[in-house]
Every structure is written in structure tokens, then in C-alpha cells.
Amino acid sequence: MSLRRQIATLIRFELRDELRGGEVALVVLPFAVIALLTIPMAVGIDTPLLERIGPGIYWSIVMLFGVLVTQRHSSLAPAAARDMLRLSGVDPAARFAATTLATFILLLGFEVGAGLATVLLYNPSLSSWWWLAALLPLTAAGLAMIGTIGGNLVSGLQTRTSLAPLIVVPIAVPLLLGAAQATEGLRLGAGILRWVLLLAVVDTVLALAGVLTARPLEESAA
């Protein structure tokens, strides 16, 4: 089987596993929407203020709750299943790519869902909103990669649900800053190309890191 077909097969089954479990759509997304709902309760219902800070809050929510998407139950195959995949001759880098792409798809859906909730609750004004077509995938890709790496680092640990976010969130901050600065630039009508390039650079470095470290991480699970 070619590498591409292996990855496509793994993605298909991983997404099917997640969609049946429903953790992202039925648990993480509602939790994120609750967060979006409760922040104005704490900050004060000042409509112009909320319009102004809505996009920033959105990106914070994407980062913090997006981490939960990357650590969903279905993203980590059972230990015995990992052995099965290793013996099937699936390259560790291919497995990294498959899990990352499945997570990327789920994160995109999550970003769109949380984005709709933000627009409804905060009424942000966004000119050139079509730039989001670049920002959403770039942040989803970066978060998916760092989340997959983080999940592999903490696999097998009792504390993995709290340790993974501690590891992932600080490293994901450049993604948050790039996305938030870009969105602020859109609001002000300024150029945002450099933030988009920053996101692209971070994603490229993470992709290289993920592929290069896939095999050493797999060996440490034995």
C-alpha cells in the first residue's frame, strides 16, 4: 500500500472512531461555547467592548479548548493497537501524519462551530473576513501537530489529561499570537501578511519536528 493510501485509511478509521464517540462535537465544543457565554458574565455586558475583544477571546478559546480536541480519547490508539500498526509496516511518520490530519479536520470543524458562537454572542466587526480561510487552517494545522506530538509524549501516563495541556499550550502561544494579531490587523484594516507567514513558518517547523521525532517516540513506548 502506498504511504498516501495508508495515511488515508488510518484517517478514515480514526475519524469514524471519533464521530461515533462524539467527544469533540458533543462535549468539547459545547464546553467551549459555555466558556464564550460565561466570559461576558464576568467581564460585563459592554457591547462595544465585547465587539472589540470578541475575536481575541475566540482565539484563546480555540487554543485552550482545541488542546482538548487534540487529546481526545480517540486520538490515542490503545497500546496493543499501536503494536498492531507497527507490525503492519506503517511508518511512524505516516501514523503521525494520519493522526495529525484527522485532528486537523476535527479542529477545523471545532473552529467553525466556536466561530459561529463568537459571532452570535460578541458581534465582532470583521472586514476582509475571507482571510479567515487562511487563518483557520493554519492555526488548526499547528495545533493539531503540536497536540499530536504532546499526546505521544504523555502516552501511558496517569497524569496525561493535565500534563498534555501544560506541555501543549505554551508551545502553541505563537500560533495564538499570530492569529490574534492578524485578526486585529483585519479589524484595523492593516496588512496581515507577516502574521500569516509567521503561522506558516511555525507550522512548517512543527511538521518537520513531528515527522523527525515520530520514530524515537514510538521506540520509547516499547
Binding site: 485509511t9 478509521f13 469514524r16 472512531d17 507497527r86 503492519s88 516499547a222
Partner: protein, 218 residues
Amino acid sequence: MTSPTVSLRSIGVRKPGSLILRSIDLELHAGSATALFGSNGSGKTTLLRVVATLLRPSTGSGSVLGAALGSAETDSVRRRIGLIGHEPALYPNLTLAENAELAASVALGRQARSEARHALEQVGLAAAADRRASSCSNGMRRRVEFARMLIIAPDLLLLDEAHVGLDPEAWGLVGHLISDVTARGGSALVVAHEEERVRPLVDHTVTLVDGALTRNHS
């Protein structure tokens, strides 16, 4: 004389602070099945994982299906190794058929949906094929793993107490799988505790004691 399927010389496995395997010499020949006995904690699973090329030994040398242990060559032979471990390797939200299909597809390098269904039929799970793995018993999940092995048809079969959870009528699967592999010229290594039940299914037996194999009849 053909070279052995598996050849281990003075294999040792040491973790920081504990010695698991001291010095293992073992040969598995084509067309033969060997049972591995040993008390709890004696290192049987560790030895099996070394043979499966999933664990790099600390000392010693060996080859599995012609590939030197600990080298990059093992990547190319892994597809020919079939392992059924302690825990069933199933995704809980996928159906039994999907679990069988996933493993078979990546191992065979092509779509294997019809083979998966047929194999599930052979192991007596045709009617339960569309049930989610999480709602199935351990014995049923075990049978799915046997189904996978029937599809993959490995040259080296490794069973780590794979019979645990199987009901009496499913026990026949163990013997069927072993004879299927050995008839094709492959080898099998079976870890078990029930000596009387396993002896009739194998050609040789070895016992792991104090990190080394004794009563090696191969």
C-alpha cells in the same frame, strides 16, 4: 537445510535497575510450533516482544525472518509477523468488522472489507460483525484478532496467552491458526500456562527460568 525463521544468541534485556532476560538462545524453524512456559513475571512477554522486533535487546544478537535484530532491516519483515498480545488491539468505537478490516487493509496494502467479513464468519462472529467493539465481550474481541491473523497469514505467529477469554468451542481456533501457519512453512511461538492443553498443538516446548531458557527441545 533452510535457515531458521528465528535465531537468538545470548539475548539479554536489562532495564535500569532490573534484569529481565539474562541470556536467551532460541531457534524456531520453518514449519514448527514452540510453546513457551514460565511463571508470572519470568519475562515471557518481553521475550515475545524481542522476537516480534518491537523491543530492542540490550545484549546479544539474532535474526528474525532474515533481518538482524536491532537493525533497520526489521522494518521490512514486520508485515510478516503476526502478534496477538495480552490485550485485544481493538478500537472501542469501531465495529468488529471495521477493526478486522483496518488491520487487514494496512497489512495487506489494499482494501480488505470482504476478506474481513469472511474471516469473521470463520471465527463464528458473522452475526456480531456490526457490533461495536466496546459492547463486545473479551472473548469476542479475541476472536476478532484470530480473524485478523487468518487474513494476514503471517510467516511468524506469536501468541501471548491469546487463548485467555476464549470459550471451549473457540479453543479450536488456536490449533487451527498454528497449523495454518506451520503448514505454509511458517513458525509459531505460543506463550501459555496450560501445559496439557497446549502441548498437543506444538512440536517443542521451552521454559523460561531465571532469565534463560531450559528444556529447549528444538
